[in-house]
């Protein structure tokens, strides 16, 4: 199938996903007895005020009308109004998104930088000590509760050693760099504010390690298995027989071929990273979408939670689509299946 055909089909699927996600969460959210109108008006509000709020929020309408309204808004990029902050949810998400993106990208980069060499080494020296260490590490990684790891990192590196700050994106009182991307480290570098860049980077280390840790093992395992497949191929033997050095064959021939199927794992990891960010941001007081959604959950701010879910789901589907397209472009033999 051509790339265009695949794109068309997958974008159609995206519509289906948005429809499905909103329908499921919308239906479920209206099964619960909680009353957002009363919550918003406050405990001591008069019944008239609550009734007025209900009218204003459109909660007096039948469920399908509310859903139709929500979807009509969604088509225009309107995710409703947050009950907690009183601002449009879309605006809130745009405001908090760069912080989360910065965290997720840093974590992913760190995980790749550690995971790939680990995976290669454990495939090359299969069943050797480095392989055993890598596999143990992977098993521990996928079993570690990220929120707990975050707390331990805080105790050790902030509480006891004092090497890194305990939360936030910058020291109190330091002004953020002029916004370009919204990612502080990058913005500071672009504006040549080296002091700010350093401070922002120091704040980024612990949350990124906490978030990336789980994925080191996942990436290492994937690379290991793909490398083992490649190393048993004929062309490797040919290359060695032709006199190329072992490291040249491993890094120059086997690794690029092993990396292609591993790209899809990165796309799938993206979804876990976004959820991981929810827990990590809560612990490190990182003002991103994750912390925003946790605060919204605790305030029963359903439009905000739903907006987050819709945006994250769409982002996830789009990222995986991009990954698959890259995959097809990298390897012309691959035709999309299923």
């Amino acid at each position: 199938m051509s790339i265009v055909g695949m794109l068309r089909r997958r974008l159609l699927f995206l519509v289906l996903v948005v429809f499905g996600v909103t329908l499921i969460t919308f239906a479920v959210s209206h099964l619960i007895p909680g009353d957002p109108a009363r919550l918003l008006a406050g405990d001591r509000a008069s019944d008239e005020l609550v009734a007025h709020m209900r009218l204003k929020l459109g909660l007096d309408r039948p469920l399908y009308v509310q859903y139709a309204r929500y979807m009509a808004g969604l088509l225009q990029g309107d995710l409703g109004t947050s009950i907690r902050t009183g601002r449009p949810v879309a605006e809130d998400i745009v405001a908090y998104f760069p912080a989360t993106l910065e965290l997720v990208l840093t974590a992913l980069t760190m995980a790749v930088l550690v995971g790939v060499p680990l995976g290669v080494a454990s495939a090359v020296w299969r069943n050797g000590w480095i392989d055993q260490i890598a596999r143990t590490f992977a098993a521990i990684g996928i079993s570690t509760p990220a929120f707990w790891l975050g707390l331990l990192l805080l105790v050790l590196f902030y509480g006891w050693l004092g090497w890194f700050p305990g939360g936030g994106r910058l020291p109190t009182g330091m002004a953020p760099p002029p916004p370009v991307t919204g990612m502080y480290v990058l913005d500071a570098v672009l504006n040549l504010e080296w002091g700010t860049a350093r401070a922002a980077l120091r704040h980024l280390v612990l949350p990124a390690v906490c978030l990336g840790f789980v994925h080191v093992g996942v990436i290492a395992r994937q690379i290991r298995s793909a490398m083992l497949d490649q190393l048993s191929e004929d062309y490797i033997r040919t290359a060695r027989a032709a006199g190329l050095s072992r490291s040249r064959v491993i890094l120059g021939h086997a690794l690029p071929n092993a990396a292609i199927p591993s790209v899809t794992v990165l796309g799938l990891a993206f979804g876990d990273l976004l959820y991981g960010a929810v827990l990590t941001e809560t612990i490190f007081a990182w003002p991103g979408m994750g912390a925003y959604v946790v605060n919204s959950i605790q305030a029963l701010d359903f439009p905000a939670v739903m907006g987050f879910t819709v945006v994250v789901s769409m982002a996830y589907v789009l990222v995986n689509l991009a990954v698959d397209v890259t995959y097809m472009l990298l390897d012309p033999r691959i035709k999309e299946v299923g």
């Binding site: 479920v28 098993a139 079993s143 509760p145 993206f270 789901s313």
Partner: protein
């Protein structure tokens, strides 16, 4: 399900050979030993010690780990070691329940979908595709939030989101089994789909489902704990591992043991199930022999 399992087990397994193969796999042995420790600590020890996890002792508030309080105490002097033991019954019990429910429901839906084929199959699978296309942890969180914060709702949310994995798995397996002669024969003799599913399909597709379920227990324990941590699962003062880590958060810099030990229990149990699942997969999948 249980009946099918025991029938499967009685179907002439060569125990000596199995023991030998398990013995040759250090991963499986480690997993089994760790799981044994967990079962002893969580299943037996609370009954042997017979201590109430909710006894308040204000004189021993936030005491550091010592011989009288192995894991220290919390802000109202409750013994954290005892609470971890009891909390395990909640955390592990809930995880086993979630996995059992979603695996059973998923197997039945997937099996029927594969057997019936046609429009039903297409409709079911498209629906599953939609759910699988969304980051599962985010969807679980959204559902749990929508249902309202409680352990029961967290359980429902996790179970619902995990079903599609099993549907897809068992449907794929069913498509293979469906073509087998004995299924054709049963059909010719007029067996109903549910009968075929129960008698012929389920026993034959059970082993990949069991592997997946074992691997899932570890993930679900983490999931329950994570939801409890952000306030969507077990509510205080319940002794549940995630809720305990969360409760200790405000004391983390001075009383590290409050959060550290419940978290360690989560890690240990989760590793045990993951190693065991990996081991079983290696044992049941000849293609994987000697691989990861």
């Amino acid at each position: 399900m249980m009946a099918a399992l025991s029938r499967l087990a009685s179907r002439g397994i060569d125990w000596r050979r199995l023991r030998h193969r398990i013995g040759a796999s250090p991963v499986t042995v480690t997993g089994l030993v760790m799981l044994g420790i967990v079962v002893f600590c969580v299943g037996l020890l609370p009954n042997l010690l017979a201590q109430d996890p909710n006894v308040i002792n204000l004189r021993a508030r936030l005491a550091a780990p010592s011989w009288s309080h192995l894991f220290g105490t919390d802000e109202v002097g409750r013994d954290i070691f005892i609470r971890v033991l009891h909390g395990g019954q909640v955390s592990i019990g809930v995880a086993l329940f979630v996995v059992a429910v979603s695996a059973s429901v998923g197997t039945v839906i997937g099996g029927l979908s594969g057997l019936l084929g046609g429009m039903v199959d297409t409709a079911i699978m498209r629906l599953m595709d939609v759910v699988l296309a969304v980051p599962s942890l985010v969807l679980t969180m959204a559902l749990a939030a929508a249902l309202g914060p409680s352990l029961t709702n967290a359980v429902i949310a996790i179970a619902v989101v995990r079903v599609p994995t099993y549907v897809r798995l068992s449907r794929g397996q069913t498509l293979v089994v469906r073509e087998a002669g004995y299924v054709m024969a049963a059909r010719v003799f007029g067996a109903r789909p549910l009968q075929i599913l129960r008698l012929h399909v389920v026993p034959n597709i059970l082993s990949p489902v069991v592997v997946q379920a074992t691997l899932d227990v570890g993930a679900v324990i983490l999931m329950v704990a994570g939801l409890s941590f952000i306030g969507l699962g077990a509510q205080p003062p319940a002794a549940e591992w995630g809720a305990m880590v969360s409760a200790g958060r405000s004391f983390i810099l001075d009383q590290w043991w409050y959060s550290a030990f419940p978290g360690l229990a989560i890690l240990f149990t989760s590793i045990a199930f993951n190693l065991l699942g990996d081991g079983i997969r290696d044992l049941t999948d000849p293609r994987q022999k000697g691989r990861s």
